[in-house]
Structure formats: structure tokens, C-alpha cells
């Protein structure tokens, strides 16, 4: 996918985790599964471990872990939790179920 296409259609997602906590691991697994199902080839996921650098929490004002941030497409959206409720995640990210 080209940069233009990414800007038009792509989802730029950022997942904040705390090491290998159960909810962090679950959130990452759920997110990957969901993206592969609904956004194949149209997403990027950046995983940020706040155990290694807690200061990064300030960038997106993270208060709970795990937290998913939708960077793109705008506007910025955030979903807190282990992303186990797929329907809620799809609604939260404005993704139409395929």
C-alpha cells in the first residue's frame, strides 16, 4: 500500500502495554486478530511497553493499561481494556464490519 493510500484508508494504531501482563498480551492478540479480519493490509500496529519507558505515557495521556490509540484516520480515538469485545472495538475505531 502506498503512502497516499495509507493516508486515505489506513489505520495507524498504537497499543500501550505493561510488559507481559495478561491483559496486555490479550489486547495485542485480540487486536491483531481483529485487524487481520477487518483491515487486512490496511493497518500498522505500534506496541509501546510502558514498563520499559513510563515517560511515553505522557504522549497520549495514558492512565490505564492496556490502551489502544487510533492515530489515523483522524480523529484520535482510544479504547481501554483487553479488546476482547470485538463489536465494541469495531464501533470505537469506526470500522464497518466487513
Amino acid at each position: 500500500m502506498t503512502a497516499t493510500a495509507m493516508e486515505q484508508d489506513g489505520y495507524n494504531l498504537r497499543l500501550y502495554v505493561a510488559g507481559q501482563t495478561p491483559k496486555s498480551l490479550a489486547a495485542l492478540a485480540n487486536l491483531k486478530k481483529l485487524c487481520e479480519t477487518h483491515l487486512p493490509g490496511r493497518y500498522t500496529i505500534e506496541v509501546i511497553d510502558l514498563m520499559k519507558d513510563p515517560a511515553l505515557a505522557q504522549r497520549d495521556q495514558i492512565v490505564a493499561i492496556p490502551t489502544l490509540i487510533r492515530q489515523l484516520p483522524e480523529p484520535l480515538k482510544r479504547i481501554i481494556g483487553d479488546l476482547s469485545n470485538a463489536e465494541k472495538v469495531l464501533v470505537g475505531l469506526d470500522i464497518a464490519p466487513s
Binding site: Q20, P54, A57, V63, I65, T67, I80
Partner: protein
């Protein structure tokens, strides 16, 4: 517009509500709070379960200390290392764990060595890593302890191996270590040199194919097939079997084969140590010594026979005891001089010129009365004693009755090689002495000369008593090729 503003105002509240709800529902397992040094991650209960499992399963001991240095957590490995359970350990001070110095956190984040006290009273060498860290506003110290006893043991084994290796390297014998199946596991430097190729990994019989040195020891070796020899060497003591290696490079060399069991700490035989000692030089020395002793016995017997014979004959021909004493002493002196020459030349032989000079020294050989002339000849050792006795008789006779008894008498000794250098002809010519009347005197001296030259020198003596002086011609063999083994003629009693 108002509705949009209301939505905007409602947004942060919804996020906050969502966060609280997520925490409440257990959908999050950590929260970020603002600490004095910036954001801090606080784990909620249960969130560290995977870490806990990992820590409990790790092979190192682990513990956590509170700010006062008291133990608040230990993993199961630390319990195993100390021999105490977690309840006994939690609440103790860190220092109580150790015999000797208490380890401290190091600035370079490295571990330090310490001795961990065990419940049975023994100490365990451990490597201790420590780090102090703030956890949710509380200062704690995380510690791991690594059991170094296995590593120490491995180091000790490695050191012992190096030590044994250096002994093997320095050994002057060929030393090999055999496994119970007869294969060589270690070989000394000398053993490496003896074998055609590196013996390690080979059966002993392959690396060192053997012949027994003697027939009865051949039985010892042939009792075993090649395979059973390897097994026997690997498990049974073997002492002092003389062998030779079949390797052509080692032909002519003799070895002493010995072996003994190699026993481990549990007193089990785990193989054997076999040595091949090169005894070639020792055997040669022994053989030489045997030959020398036999030769010495032979010569001593000959000398005693000569002395006995000379004494008897001198007594028979001496008119008085003082005359006997003088004649006997002179003859024994000749024997003695001959033996001095043989000893000094290590029984190898002597130049004829040198023999003449030495034997005739008491009669003025260096003073112009006796002149010597002839080609260089090396005499064999066996010729030294008889020639010395003959020359002594001639010189004694000359000094008593012949040329050397007169002030201006002269003795000329000349010789030449004949019969293709195999024989020597010597002429003893006296001039200027008192005139000889008649046919000369045939006493013991002339008998001795005649017999010695004939039997000991395989030659002949011709004594001519001319009026102007004696002329004695000796012809004898230089080499012992045709000489039969016999008692010296000088020891034979005259008829």
C-alpha cells in the same frame, strides 16, 4: 453549535468514565500515575502472575528486600539453596543469609561472590546480583543468587585435568590412559612419539603392536587375543613384561609394559593407566656389564695363573731368595704396567711405540740408550700383557748381562709390518755390551719369551747370541682371527 460544544465538554468525562469502568470491570491490569520522577506504572493485582511463575521456575535463587534490608519474598530455588522454607526466610535480615562478608549492590551492576549459609551448617559459594529500585513509591532491593558450586567443581575438575595433563606431558615414559573397552583416551607426549599416528581413540593393540621380549613372556601376551589383550590391559594390573614394538622405527628398542587400574572416587575401575618404559639403554648396560664381569673373571683367572706360574718358575731358576725377590718383583711389575696401560686405554689397545716407551721407561728409553724405530701400529688389548712380559725379559737381561749393563751399550728396537699388515716383525738388537761367550744362557727368561711369543702372540721368537750382542727377532699376528681361546702360555709350566 451549542450541541457540539456540549459534546466536546462531554468527551473527557466519557474517557475518564470509560477508564474507571475498565478498571472496575478488570479489563486493565496496570495504571499510570504521576510520581515525583514522572509517570509510574502500577501493576494491579494478578498482573504480575507470569513474572511470578518465571521467578519461581528460574534456576537462580531470588529474593526481595524491603528498605530495612529484611527479606519480604523468596523464590523456591532460594529455599532449596538454603535448605529453609519461605516462612523461615521471610522476615530475616539479608545479612543472616551469609557466612562472612555480606554482598553489596555494585555500581557496575555486576555480581559479587559470597558464601550462603545452609541449614545443615555448610556454606555454598554463590554469585549475588543486587539492584535497588523504587516500586510504587516504595524502595526495595531485588537480589538473585547463582549457585557457583557446580561451576567451582567444574573449574576444579578442569584444573585437575590440566594438572594431570601436565604430568602426562612431563612423563619420560610413554603413558596412556585406557577406557574399559581398551581404547586410549589420553596419551603422554612420549606415547604420541612412539605411536605412528596419534594413539588417542585407537585400541592399545592398534596403536602399539607388541612382541614379547622373551619366550616365557610371549606366553603372557599370546594368552590374550588382540581384543582380550586390550581388555586385560584396561582392567587388570600388568607388571614388567618386556616387549618390543613391531613398528620398524622402534626396532632394536626394548620396553617394559606395565599397567594398573584407574579407580574413580567411588572405587570403581573406570579404565587403566598403561606405561611403556624404554629400557633399551638399561638393557644394553646390563648386557655390557654381564660381558664385562665374565671378561673380568676370565682375566683375573689368567692373571692368577700367570702369577702362579711366574712365581714357581722364577723360584726354580733363582740361585737365592734375594735373586728370586728381584726377578719376581720385576716380572710382576711388568704385568702391573701392562694392566695400567689396559686400564688407561679402557682395554681398547695402544700404539706399539707408546707400549715400548712405557714398558722400557725404567731402562733408559728416553736417555739415548734405547732407540725405537718403526711405522705406527695399534696393538689390540690382548697383545699388551704378553708383549710387556717379553719386553721386560729382554730389557732385564740387557741390563743385567747385555748392552745396558755396559756404559756405552745400545739397544736398537726396530719393526716392520709384513704379511699384508697382518703380522709384525720386531728386531731387538744389542750392541756395545760385554762380549757373549759360547751360545748364551737359556734360563727362564728365554723360555718365557719363546712360549709367550709362540702361544700368546701366535708367533715365533728367534734369539741369536752373537759375540757382539743379542739379536732377538719376534714375529707375531696383529689380529686375533686365528687365535684359539686358551690359557696364556706364560702360565704354562715348563716341562
Amino acid at each position: 453549535m451549542a450541541a457540539k460544544d456540549a459534546l466536546q465538554a462531554a468527551r473527557p468525562r466519557n474517557e475518564a468514565e470509560e477508564t474507571v469502568e475498565a478498571i472496575h470491570r478488570g479489563n486493565v491490569d496496570a495504571v499510570v500515575v504521576q510520581g515525583p520522577g514522572g509517570p509510574q506504572v502500577i501493576m494491579l493485582q494478578g498482573a504480575d502472575a507470569p513474572y511470578h511463575v518465571l521467578v519461581e521456575r528460574m534456576s537462580d535463587g531470588a529474593l526481595t528486600l524491603d528498605a530495612d534490608g529484611s527479606i519480604v519474598y523468596v523464590n523456591s530455588r532460594l529455599c532449596a539453596l538454603t535448605g529453609l522454607d519461605a516462612q523461615q526466610l521471610v522476615g530475616r535480615t539479608f545479612a543472616e543469609l551469609f557466612a562472612g562478608p555480606v554482598p553489596q549492590q555494585r555500581a557496575d551492576d555486576a555480581a559479587s561472590d559470597a558464601q550462603l549459609c545452609r541449614s545443615d551448617g555448610s556454606d555454598l559459594p554463590v554469585s549475588v546480583w543486587m539492584r535497588q529500585m523504587a516500586m510504587g513509591g516504595v524502595v526495595a532491593t531485588l537480589v538473585t543468587l547463582t549457585d557457583m558450586s557446580i561451576q567451582r567443581r567444574a573449574e576444579e575438575v578442569a584444573n585437575a585435568e590440566r594438572f594431570a595433563r601436565s604430568i602426562l606431558e612431563q612423563a619420560t615414559d610413554a603413558v596412556v590412559v585406557l577406557a574399559p573397552d581398551g581404547r586410549i583416551t589420553h596419551a603422554s607426549w612420549v606415547a604420541e612419539q612412539l605411536a605412528e599416528r596419534s594413539p588417542v581413540g585407537q585400541l592399545f593393540s592398534e596403536a602399539f603392536p607388541l612382541h614379547a621380549q622373551s619366550a616365557n613372556q610371549e606366553g603372557t601376551l599370546t594368552r590374550f587375543s588382540r581384543e582380550s589383550l586390550d581388555r586385560a590391559l584396561a582392567t587388570k594390573p600388568f607388571h614388567g613384561v618386556e616387549v618390543r614394538l613391531r613398528d620398524e622405527r622402534m626396532s632394536g628398542r626394548s620396553f617394559l609394559l606395565s599397567g594398573g587400574p584407574l579407580v574413580n572416587d567411588a572405587k570403581e575401575t573406570v579404565g587403566s593407566i598403561v606405561t611403556l618404559t624404554d629400557i633399551t639403554d638399561r638393557k644394553r648396560a646390563e648386557e655390557q656389564q654381564t660381558v664385562l664381569v665374565a671378561e673380568l673373571n676370565h682375566r683375573v683367572k689368567n692373571i692368577l695363573a700367570i702369577v702362579q706360574s711366574v712365581a714357581g718358575q722364577t723360584l726354580r731358576t733363582s740361585p737365592s731368595l734375594p735373586a728370586f725377590n728381584k726377578a719376581f718383583s720385576g716380572r710382576i711389575q711388568a704385568v702391573s704396567i701392562a694392566h695400567d696401560i689396559l686400564t688407561q686405554t679402557r682395554w681398547i689397545g695402544i700404539g706399539f711405540n707408546e707400549l715400548l716407551t712405557t714398558v722400557l721407561a725404567p731402562y733408559g728409553v728416553g736417555e739415548g740408550r734405547i732407540s725405537i724405530e718403526g711405522p705406527p701400529v695399534l696393538l689390540e688389548a690382548r697383545l699388551v700383557l704378553p708383549l710387556s712380559m717379553v719386553l721386560h725379559e729382554l730389557a732385564t737381561n740387557a741390563s743385567k748381562y747385555g748392552a745396558l749393563s755396559a756404559p756405552f751399550g745400545q739397544v736398537t728396537i726396530s719393526w716392520q709390518l709384513c704379511d699384508d699388515r697382518r703380522r709384525l716383525e720386531l728386531v731387538w738388537l744389542e750392541r756395545g755390551g760385554p762380549p757373549i761367550e759360547g751360545n748364551g744362557s737359556r734360563g727362564f727368561g728365554t723360555t718365557l719369551i719363546d712360549r709367550v711369543v709362540r702361544f700368546d702372540l701366535d708367533g715365533e721368537a728367534d734369539l741369536a747370541f752373537a759375540r757382539e750382542g743379542i739379536r732377538c727377532t719376534l714375529r707375531f699376528a696383529l689380529s686375533a682371527e686365528a687365535m684359539p681361546e686358551q690359557v696364556p702360555a706364560s702360565a704354562v709350566q715348563p716341562d
